[in-house]
Amino acid sequence: MLFISDPVMFIANWLQSFLLGWGLPKELVVAILSFIGSSMIAVVMLCLVVALIIMERKLGGRFQGRFGPNRVGPYGLLQTIPDMIKIFTKEYITPQGADIIIYNLAPILITSAVLLIWAVVPYTSSVVGADVNVGVLYLIAVGSFGTLAILMAGWSSNNKYALMGAFRTVAQMISYEVPMVLVLLIPVIFTGSMGINDIVKAQTVWFILLSPLSALIFFIAAQAEVARAPFDLLEAESEIVAGFHIEYSGLKFGFFYVAEFLHSFTMSALVATLFLGGWQGPWVEAFPVLGFFYFSIKAFIVYFLVLWVRFSLPRVRIDQMMDFCWKALIPVSLTLVMVTAIVQKLLVGAGAALPIQVAVHLMVNIAITWITVQIMLAKQARKPRRKPVADIRPVAVGSPSTPSTKSV
């Protein structure tokens, strides 16, 4: 194995033989290596958040027709560092009547829930934290700790806005978990395995081509799961101030902030892994290290899409959001899972070639999408229109009777 083709495994193997040469037992060496690997993943991911924050702020500025941060460093790229110093030095304020232990545990739990997801994401064909054979279930299981942390934060803060934000979040996360789990089954159906690295290895054709609808549903559900706009009801500033983390200050608030950004990027990385082929790309067999670059490029493209959606769409109302989940996403994903399973079984049974499989799955997806859109349009037409509360009065247009104010 050469250093140039797979540096991480090269270093790991070298370190292993080095430690074994000291005469350490094999289990201890494995434990040390796992510890080094997991702490490296955690540190790298937490540092990545600095880049994610500046990317979000710069791009957000561009989407909204302004510059974004532009004072510190070249092009304002170092803006996050003074922000970090500020948040490190802030005072911790604990509200009266707070449940101290739960209050302090919640930020740690929410950050670790996000970091735990990275344990099963394959970075290249060989560099995987833990190649568990139930990786897809692991993703969902770890996600439930995030929900729990939000509920703990909201309850222990002893604040009604925090509790309301937590209730909204939990309702939203539990509801959107259902379509997410259902569409996660579709890569599993195509692969025949629940291991994430197996799913990536099976993607000689990206699964987004086989089932674009499931990728779309996963993307929407992931947006709701990380509570980004247009689904950021848990921290709707105009309604419940800041939601579940209203009573947190200093670095405890920073933990929530980091967890939110990292969760968002994690979900983008999962979309890239499950539907866009992960580390797959040209020459990846010869040079596994290239897989890392393909993977990060795909993840950042999806993250760009996430930001695009975030800065373009207004926030939805809570009843609209629940309606959309229970009346649109869940029926569609149930149908999609059933139809995809049957079609895949028939195609594999008939021994169809790969292009035919792709074409048939694509047709099925388009048909289901078309039927769904037709049903939703028909439902929309039957719904009585709400009466306008007042006559429409355009604000920015001067009426002809008043004199023009152009000269002022």
Partner: protein, 176 residues
């Protein structure tokens, strides 16, 4: 004493300790959180038993659904820390004795059980070669396996869902 045994003892102590806290804590929201710790500890046992699928299912079902449901119910009934109220009823000593008698009886039966010798030792090493999840999936849908219990379980879940909605809805649904 292998590393596996040390891990087993540590997890067992933590799990049993949190289980005791579940049944003795006054604040029932804390009890729910201790329950979550216990359930995660039990999930660790499933990992030790080479059943990672069940460990994940345990976390998804218990932590993600049942524990959240418990916390919601606790918040809805709003009596979280009743400070003047006794935690245990008058017969708690009887309950303690019964539980101890049950535990002692189980241990007594285990020491007299001869089934440990009849367990095939060959099968133990087999588990790494098979894929239990696949076999379980086939067993759950094959007609001479567990097809009917599986379907009955799904009917049970639907019935429970309808029942829970009807009971918890209150007067507004029944008067319609």
């Amino acid at each position: 004493m292998t590393p596996e045994m040390i891990i087993f003892i540590l997890i067992a102590l933590v799990t049993l300790g949190t289980a005791i806290l579940v049944v003795t804590t006054r604040n029932i929201l804390h009890a729910a959180l201790w329950l979550i710790a216990t359930l995660v500890g039990v999930a660790c046992f499933y990992v030790l038993l080479n059943a990672p699928f069940f460990a994940m299912a345990q976390v998804i079902i218990y932590v993600g659904a049942i524990a959240i449901l418990f916390i919601f119910a606790i918040m809805l009934v709003r009596v979280i820390t009743p400070s003047g109220v006794k935690v245990f009823n008058e017969d708690w000593l009887m309950g303690l004795i019964l539980a101890c008698v049950f535990f002692g009886g189980m241990i007594w039966m285990l020491t007299r059980w001869t089934g440990f010798d009849t367990i095939p030792s060959v099968a133990v090493s087999q588990v790494d070669k098979i894929n239990p999840v696949k076999l379980l999936g086939i067993a759950l849908v094959s007609p001479n396996g567990y097809l009917i219990p599986f379907e009955v379980a799904s009917v049970l879940l639907v019935a429970a869902m309808i029942g829970a909605i009807y009971i918890a809805w209150g007067k507004s649904l029944r008067n319609k």
